[in-house]
């Protein structure tokens, strides 16, 4: 889930309320020691889940959606070829199986038989091909184009028979199934003749039907009787209510008006009383990007000094309520199977900071840090921690619109300021970070880092057909990033989801805040 612009909207009025509210709620939200709802036994049929989420900032449109709320609403109604579960494992959904040939350049997907769209139309290879052709057509302006990058190009999707779809890639890509999974969130399978205006034509193969939508207030879903998973969903329906303010949402959960929050901010909510928090690891993070092509960060030692100045465990506590995992200044999250295991974790080392800065000839390092409201807390923590080792940070906060505005090739602040904080939503595969962020041709290379060894290793990684080779190439990339520090990555975010454990079970956190409510049931 990319940057959620609404988080910044939420900051507009989140002034005095925050801490005081938490303190108040902590004072009256005493855990009454009630037993947790039975997590075993057969699931109950029936019941309606009332979920809160941020109001989508745009019309809900699967082809162009990028905010967490729109993605979640679509996921209630539509399905992917492959789901990504809460451990980021691939789970067959509309595709039953897939095979690779020609050195990972041709992928054949076999569709699950007997699946129908909610209007009764059978799911076939034509609908799947149309869904991907739609995303690949530039005039439809899908963010999936960035995800497919130079891997899948228009014309690369063909049908072999009604149950078989073939993807012919522009280059070998061993992680290709992730690109057609929920990890590429726009890739839901819609009918071949889908022509937009999803909230008026919400036809999918998912567990629920969208029966009512109001952009100001919320959405109503009922059980899809034609859903392909036998017996599911257990719920009769889901009512989603939109919120512009995370505190209002939390209060609604605390007062029993909501049963779950789709997008839960770990720093805002606590488990107390009936409210439980499910946790998951995530591949989302906030990168501290340093421009390697201009002073003061054109010297590697200065970048390393910043990396050694951070006390990562306390960053985790301060900005993420302790639920994240420590980052090691490379782009391989612990959740990725190819993440290097034997690279020592970088720790705070004030003596080393002094030594490195002296070696670089910048004993009194001072720089401006540019960020937008969602990363305000992290910016303040960085400023305080760097001050302890004699580094001065001037905070330069911009509105989200300004920070992400401008031209991505010439002047947009998030790609062109000397040092900045950019929140990155979780990606399904590490190459989706490495390729755009730190390769010579990367479209979002804010550090301006160029390293042919990294470029080559990434190509080799993507083409690798066995795990040992992938591990080897991932280690080359991770070592280079850890050493050169184009981005300081102190933390991989965790994800949480808050829900009322006394009323519902089966609600889980998801690394990308995705929703699968097909297995949720009343207690």
């Amino acid at each position: 889930m990319p940057h959620d612009s609404l988080l910044s909207r939420r900051q507009v009025f989140a002034g005095a309320g925050g801490l005081g509210l938490l303190a108040l709620l902590a004072a009256c939200g005493v855990d009454d020691g009630a037993p947790d709802a039975a997590a075993s036994g057969p699931a109950k049929q029936g019941g309606t889940l009332r979920a809160g989420t941020t109001a989508p900032p745009t019309a809900v449109e699967p082809v162009t959606m990028y905010d967490g709320s729109s993605i979640a609403l679509v996921q209630l109604v539509a399905d992917y070829l492959i789901w990504l579960d809460d451990k980021y494992q691939l789970v067959p959904r509309l595709a039953e199986k897939w095979t690779a040939e020609d050195g990972n350049k041709r992928w054949t997907f076999t569709l699950r038989p007997g699946v129908t769209f909610s209007d009764g139309t059978p799911l076939d290879a034509t609908a799947v091909k149309a869904s991907f052709d739609r995303l690949l057509d530039p005039k439809n302006k899908s963010a999936a184009l960035s995800a497919f990058g130079d891997v899948l190009k228009p014309g690369g999707v063909t049908t072999k028979d009604p149950q078989t779809v073939v993807f012919t890639l522009a280059r070998a890509f061993s992680d290709f199934p992730y690109l057609v999974s929920a990890g590429n969130y726009n890739a839901v399978i819609l009918k071949a003749d889908y022509a937009g205006d999803f909230t008026k034509n919400p036809i999918g193969t998912g567990p629920f039907l969208l029966t009512d939508y109001n952009p100001s207030t919320g959405a109503t879903f009922t059980r899809n009787p034609k859903y392909w998973q036998p017996g599911k969903p257990y719920l009769d329906g889901v009512n989603v209510r939109f919120y512009a303010d995370s505190q209002a949402e939390q209060l609604a959960l605390q007062s029993g008006e909501l049963d779950a929050l789709i997008l839960t901010e770990a720093s805002v909510i606590q488990a107390a009383g009936d409210i439980a928090l499910d946790e998951a690891a995530s591949t989302g993070m906030t990168a501290l990007t340093l421009r390697v092509d201009r002073a003061p960060f054109d010297k590697k030692e200065v970048r390393q000094a910043v990396a050694y100045a951070l006390d990562r465990p306390s960053v985790n506590e301060a900005v993420n309520d302790g639920i994240g995992q420590l980052g090691n200044d490379h782009l391989y999250a612990p959740l990725f199977p190819s993440a290097p295991k034997d690279l020592a974790q970088r720790k705070k080392d004030p003596a080393k900071v002094k030594e490195l800065l002296a070696a670089a000839g910048v004993p009194n390092l001072k720089f401006a840090l540019t960020f937008d409201p969602p990363n305000k807390d992290y910016a303040l923590v960085i400023q305080a921690q760097l001050k302890e080792v004699g580094i001065t940070v001037d905070l330069d906060q911009r509105t989200s619109a300004a920070f992400y505005g401008g031209n991505q090739e010439t002047d947009t602040p998030w790609l062109f300021t000397t040092a900045n904080l950019v929140g990155w939503a979780g990606r399904a595969v590490p190459s989706q970070f490495v390729s755009p962020m730190v390769t010579s041709t990367g479209v979002w290379n804010g550090s301006k880092y160029r390293n042919p060894a990294v470029d080559q290793a990434l190509t080799a990684y993507d083409a690798a057909t066995d795990d040992a080779e992938r591990q080897k190439q991932a280690a080359i990339i991770a070592d280079a990033l850890h050493e050169d520090v184009p981005v300081v990555l102190s933390l991989w975010n965790g994800a949480v989801r808050a829900y009322n454990k006394r009323k519902f079970r089966g609600i889980t956190a998801h690394p990308s805040s995705y929703v699968d409510f097909s297995a949720v049931s009343s207690v």
Binding site: L21, L24, L25, A401, A402
Partner: protein, 317 residues
């Protein structure tokens, strides 16, 4: 009187045009880009440029303004750039919600504030007056966000007497809708109370000290009769303008209460439209609110003339 009305009414369209130009120019200089907002950070510049062209944002500013103005005046308010729904429906739905909340808060505010101010004025400079004045001042100085949070935590989360959200479920009866509006309305009343009561108190003090009240008291009229016949009327006239100011505030200045109580009013719509640079929505909301403001201030002036004998009879004060 009629002359005044006609002159003021004639000025309204011109004022609205000025507002619309200002909103247009202000939106122009705001950072950000609605096309980028619609497509997200990860869309390429070329894609964003294509959408800008589709929305007609690449045309010259005067051309865009003129187009908007002609459409708006002919009743075509356009479609929201971001939400892709007709602006007219969106604005009127949100305005209806805001009017309901504002009216409810106003109905609670008037008797409470008038009583508060009159009692304060009658007991001026005595302990009761001091207590009421300081309390009113303290409440006015407390942001509605804070009083709102306290009300929510006490009455919605802990006691569960009232719902936490101001939005009743779809198809709710009016009484249920009002029940949902109690907490937000009370937090607004607490905010506005001090301001209105202060005005009422000042005029109450003035009329208690006025010669005719003294004369009435000397004639032996009972205190109650004097207050009812003279003081009340004279002290509530000046409150009209204070109430007018508050009515305008209640209509448009509710963003924080709308956010906290999750109420889809016009304040939050204006805020989001401005942040997203969703110009058709922003313009329509500004026009509708502007018109209401102008009508309220006109209404206040007319009421003032009708209520104040000096103005009504054209006697020099």
């Amino acid at each position: 009187m009629r002359h005044l009305l006609l002159r003021r009414l004639a000025a309204i369209p011109l004022t609205l045009v000025v507002i619309s130009v200002l909103v247009f120019l202000a939106t122009e200089v705001l950072p950000g880009d609605v096309a980028r907002q619609i497509l997200g950070r990860e869309a390429s510049d070329a894609t964003v440029a294509a959408l800008r062209q589709e929305l007609g944002l690449d045309r010259a500013l005067p051309v865009r303004y003129w187009d908007w103005l002609v459409s708006f005046v002919t009743g075509d308010w356009g479609t929201s750039y971001t939400l892709k729904v007709p602006v007219r429906d969106l604005v009127f739905e949100r305005l209806g919600a805001s009017l309901l909340l504002a009216a409810f808060a106003f109905v609670l505010l008037v008797p409470v504030a008038l009583t508060w101010g009159v009692v304060s004025g009658l007991y001026h400079d005595r302990p009761l007056d001091r207590f009421l004045s300081v309390t009113g001042l303290a409440l006015a100085a407390t942001p509605e966000f804070v009083t709102g949070v306290v009300l929510l935590v006490v009455f919605a989360v802990t006691l569960r007497w009232f719902p936490a959200g101001a939005q009743a479920p779809p198809g709710a009866s009016l009484s249920l809708r009002l029940e949902h509006l109690v907490l937000p309305a009370v937090s607004l009343v607490l905010l506005c109370l001090g301001y209105v009561a202060r005005h009422v108190r000042a005029s109450t003090v003035a009329s208690v000290r006025s010669p005719y009240v003294r004369a009435a008291e000397l004639r032996g009229a009972s205190r109650v009769a004097v207050v009812r016949r003279h003081v009340l009327r004279n002290s509530t006239v000046p409150a009209t303008s204070a109430l007018g100011v508050q009515a305008q505030f209640l209509l448009g200045g509710l963003v924080s209460v709308e956010l906290l109580f999750n109420y889809p009013g016009i304040g939050a719509l204006l805020l989001n439209a401005a942040l997203d640079k969703d110009l058709p929505t922003l313009q329509a909301a500004a026009m509708v609110l502007g018109l209401l403001y102008l009508l309220i201030s006109l209404g206040v002036d007319v009421a003032y003339r009708l209520l104040d004998p000096r103005l009504r009879l054209g006697v020099a004060a």
